[in-house]
Assembly symmetry: C2
Homo-oligomer: 470 residues x 2
């Protein structure tokens, strides 16, 4: 609870109009894109600049009030659900592109900038920001940084972490620090920049970021390889990489996903095959053509029943957009959609797909699988209903087995969605107790009063998933 005295102090910082503790206002920010998690914050605050963030944090630290920084809330790990109350911090005023530096190939932004707006601004200058989470139309760059978001182009270009080179951060004690710089090389002390990327708002609040850009690739080609055998598709993925081709995108969709996506997008996707690979390459046209030809041959060798190259950018864009809409398309079918992103070394993709299907069958669940096959990062997605307690219990057991299988194959419990509250109980599977203790020590040293997005990353209890009823 926030006392009237503290409320007054906070209102003095941001202005009355930027402090909302109405029921409606709080309800809006009581959940994010993650099913099964909801919790009311005490207030919603919209600071107008870094100084205000710092002043808010100082008050919260003094009074041990939780702070949940939030972009658009598109995360899938309950990372921005205010599970312990406190304040939700919005960046609706801190949403400017501050600079595009064409000499140093950098962009400096405030956290509230929408990812796609930033990408569009960058591309207008002939430059390229590769990370492209499927939610980029609505996600913010601040959210991407906190979650270390991935996307479809991760295979060739890496993830958000690989592009963040400088941060302005408000620490839990209210101090403002600056990490990194417009620098290709910087070894002045520990790499705080990358420590903060993916730290899910649990160590401090990112109030400004400088991101690395690269020249825009000159050309791009897109193709679709169709399979009647899921494992053959998965094997093709390993084979392409082993043949030393790194395509921009190497996405996998199984038949149930294909059917749903086609029903939603209606762009003529085949629905009579067991799986497709959506493959893209970009770069100089000669190289792109050569790589696409080689990959088409490899697909055929691995028993693709058909390989189709998109004939126009419009067609290619349709395919990409359809793929990006997979989650929202699937979400229309059943009341509850639970999407996971256990990730394995790409050589183990075929085994992981097989195991997922066996687990779905064992627990009699409807699991569709799609995702970034080239990254070993698949999204098995369970269509279920949170009100069906018996089924939800089987869902929990199935995902626990999926996580265990991923770890057994040398993988991880989350490739790009983050731990948040949802996967916290499983973190020990990946890290062991010593690994968790090391991370917890960092958390405690940065945030001794545990005000920064408390309840996230570190579980109160390991391995048993907490099911919150809506």
């Amino acid at each position: 609870m926030i006392s009237n005295e503290i409320k007054l102090k906070l209102c003095n910082i941001v202005g009355l109009e930027n402090y909302d503790d109405s029921n409606v206002g709080r309800l809006v920010y009581s959940y994010d894109a993650t099913p099964q998690f909801q919790s009311m914050p005490d207030a919603v605050i919209s600071p107008r600049n870094t100084k205000e963030v710092s002043e808010i944090v100082k008050i919260c630290n003094e009074h041990q009030i939780p702070i949940v920084p939030r972009g658009s809330g598109t995360n899938l790990c309950a990372g921005t659900c205010p599970t312990e109350g406190g304040i939700v911090l919005l960046f609706k005023y801190m949403n400017s592109i501050l600079e595009i530096d064409e000499e140093n190939l950098t962009i400096t932004v405030q956290p509230g900038v929408i990812t796609l707006d930033m990408i569009t601004a960058v591309e207008e200058k002939g430059l390229f920001y590769p990370p492209d989470p499927s939610s980029m139309k609505i996600s913010t760059i601040g959210g991407n940084i906190n979650e270390n978001s991935g996307g479809l182009r991760g295979l060739k270009y890496g993830v958000t972490r690989d592009y963040v080179i400088a941060l302005e951060i408000v620490l839990a004690n209210g101090e403002i620090i600056h990490t990194g710089g417009k620098l290709a090389k910087d070894v002045a002390g520990y790499d705080l920049t990358r420590l903060f990327v993916g730290s899910e708002g649990t160590l401090g609040i990112v109030t400004e970021a400088t991101l690395k850009l690269i020249p825009m690739p000159e050309s791009k080609m897109t193709m679709l390889a169709l399979y009647q055998d899921i494992e053959a598709a998965a094997k093709t993925v390993s084979k392409i990489i082993a043949n030393k081709i790194i395509p921009t995108t190497l996405e996998f969709l199984d038949q149930p996903t294909l059917e749903v996506v086609e029903a939603h997008a209606q762009i003529g996707l085949p629905t009579d095959v067991k799986a497709v690979l959506l493959i893209e390459q970009d770069g100089p046209i000669e190289v792109v053509k050569r790589d696409i030809e080689k990959m088409a041959l490899l697909c055929e060798q691995e028993h693709a029943v058909s390989v189709k190259i998109a004939e126009s950018e419009a067609e290619a864009d349709g395919l990409r957009t359809a793929r990006r809409s997979a989650l929202s398309a699937l979400a229309r079918l059943k009341p509850t959609t639970i999407l996971e992103d256990a990730t394995v070394p790409r050589s183990e993709i075929a085994k992981m797909v097989k195991a997922t299907n066996e687990i779905a069958e064992k627990y009699q669940l409807n699991i569709c699988t799609f995702g970034h096959a080239g990254d070993g990062n698949l999204h098995p997605t369970c269509l279920t209903d949170v009100r069906n307690h018996d089924e939800i219990e089987r869902v929990e057991k199935a995902f626990e087995e999926i996580f265990e299988k991923a770890i057994e194959l040398g993988g991880t419990i989350t490739g790009e969605h983050g731990v948040g509250m949802m996967k916290a109980p499983y973190l020990e599977l990946k890290l062991g107790s010593a690994g968790i203790a090391a991370m917890k020590a960092i958390k405690d040293s940065f945030d001794p009063n545990n005000i920064m997005n408390p309840g996230k990353v570190f579980a109160k209890e390991s391995r048993k998933r907490v099911v919150v009823t809506q």
Copy 2:
């Protein structure tokens, strides 16, 4: 001091033959490649495996004995000088390449592997490990990881950090943790992998690492652009990048460096020009040719007096080798060679070169400058004599001004050499006291007894350089 009782315990772990506390044995490891720093360890220990490292660390932690992990000691920041005594830990037994995984494009190594041996093994498989510190013929990969080493190919391919994807680490309490994996994406908790890269052995001991590989570029071309105006050379660097070409290598050497390198290497380098740029591009041959042509034109537009393309790989290799030998060539001229690596945004290279020359003149010093211009990472190198106290005092003042100028231009005090003991007094210039406090909190949480390479990164006193007389 290590008591006889503790010595016996340590000998029981590694065997008598791997524990050396003789005067000669200790003297050998009392210094590294950094001038002006020397301090005797109490003993030199060579563990044979991770379990032995863990047991050693437990004893050291119990008795608060400093541990300095050491590869080949090629660092230039006094990072492996045992300034507070204790034990130097050698990896001469832990020097195996454990696996090259061609499906996942990774290599797994022990820390004692020589960098060039690893690169050679990787290239035999048609794969590529880009980081190439100039010391790679003798440096170890463990040392590279601890220092986050850079090299000549950093501009296009990044530094060591960008290739480390999994680590086995012995923490200060002796616990063994595993971070990351053979994974393109992994957001399971904080990024401990990258936190440890560049942490200079102050947080724990890396006992195994998995590194990302990429396909070997198909071809490579090398050229040399000659200038009679240093700033014109520097401006060319910015212009190439602003034209959206990212070459593999973009090295700068000024006339004094050229003269010395040519005298040493005798490969026909021009010595009658004020500066040269050594430029390389790699990739598909069509692209390489196109980029080299474009860059040649840009060099001419920026008043290069001559542009020469290497006619053979032998000639190109000679140029690269000559560049890599710059430090050892310079070191032959005077008793003491002090090499710095203040780094700036690449748009500021011209200003930084100009400022460096003005500072050298102001303090009447002989400073040669060469380095990775494309990274904004120059190595102003002062040829001096540590016995000349008056001159050394001027050297200290000059480098302090160079650091201040770099920070003023948005740069950093060290691009790739690390902080160690040498640059610790200047770290606050870059980070401010709040930034240092944040890093110190991490150090304290990982290593509460301060046994892991103590005295490094964090200075006892800021801004005033500690001069240790040899």
